[in-house]
Symmetry: C2
Subunit: 162 residues, 2 copies
Amino acid sequence: MPAYETLLEKLRASGLKMTPQRLAILRQLADNDRHPTAQDVYDGMVAEQPTLSFATVYNALGALAEAGVCERLELGGTVLRFDPNLDPHDHAICDGCGSIRDVHADDDAPPGRAPAARAGARERKPRELTGFHVRRVERIFRGLCSACRRGGAPHDDHQPGR
Amino acid sequence: MPAYETLLEKLRASGLKMTPQRLAILRQLADNDRHPTAQDVYDGMVAEQPTLSFATVYNALGALAEAGVCERLELGGTVLRFDPNLDPHDHAICDGCGSIRDVHADDDAPPGRAPAARAGARERKPRELTGFHVRRVERIFRGLCSACRRGGAPHDDHQPGR
DNA sequence: CTCTCAATCGAGAGTCATTCTAAACTGACC
DNA sequence: GGTCAGTTTAGAATGACTCTCGATTGAGAG
C-alpha cells in the first residue's frame, strides 16, 4: 500500500509531466487496496476536478502503468483495475460480491503450503516452459469472502458478476 | 482435449436439449486446444449454419458452461474464451501474439519446481485464507512464446494485445 | 395426427468499458 | 511572440457482450 509520497517519487523519476490530473490520480491510488477501476478513480476525482474527462483518466492511468507507477490488472470480467502495489502478490476474488483482496506470500497459508509458494516461486526472474519465456506469474484465488459466506446473499459493496 | 463423443455424453447427461446449434458448438470445441472466443466459435459455425445468430452462440456457450460441458475463461483482455478441457490446468499467455496454451502439472518444469506445484497444489478442494473460502485457483503465466521471441515482431496467428 | 407448452432460437437494439480523433491548452525553449 | 512536444478534453467510435421479444421446434398428451 504505497503512500502518496512514494507514488509521487516514482512519477517524478519516470520523467512524465506532473500534471494536476495525474497528481489527483496518485492521490486516489495512494494507500488504496481496493483495486479501483477507471470508473472508481474518475468518480473520486470529479469532485475536485469537475471538468475532468474520462479519456484523461484512461490516458493517465495508462501512462502511469507504463511508467511503472501502478499496475494494470486484468483479472477477468470486463473492467480494468489498477493497483498501486507493485510487490509480487496474488489476488483473491469473491464470486459473490466481486471484491478483490491482495494475498501476500506471508499471508496465512492453506495447510501445508503457502499461497504464494514458500520459496523461489514468485521471483520475478523469467523461467522456461518448453520455449515459452515466462515473465510473470499471476495467481487468482476465486471463492467466497467471509461476508458472502455468512449472509447467503452477497453484500454489495462491490459490483457483482455483472 | 476431450473428443466430440465425450462432450456429447456430457451434454446428454446435463439434460439440456440436443439442438443442432449446440452439437455444432461441441464440434467446434472438440479436440480444440486454442481456447476459442465466442467469435471464433461463431466463425467456425456460420459455414455450416448460415442462419446462425451471434446471440445463439452466446446463449449456447453459456448454457454449456453452466452445465459443466466446457469452461468459461476470463483470462483478462476483453473477450471470453471457452475451454472444453475441464481438468485442472494453468494457462500460458503470450504477450506478443496473445496465443494461449495449456500448462499441465506434468508439463516441463522450471528448474526445481513444477509449474503446477508438485503435489497438493491444484487439488479442487476448497481451502482457507483467513475467512476467504477458496474454490478455485487460476494460474496465468505471461511471457513470450517461442515464435514471438525469435521473430521480434509477433506472428499474428492470434489477436495481439488489442 | 393435432394440440399444447416449454425450451430454444434469431434479429436487432441496447449497454458498457474502453479507445480513438481532433482540436485546444500548457509550459519550455528559441 | 513563435514553435513544439506533451497533455487534456469532448465526443464519437469500437467491440464484446446482453437483453428483448416474437418465431420456431419438439416432446408428450389426447
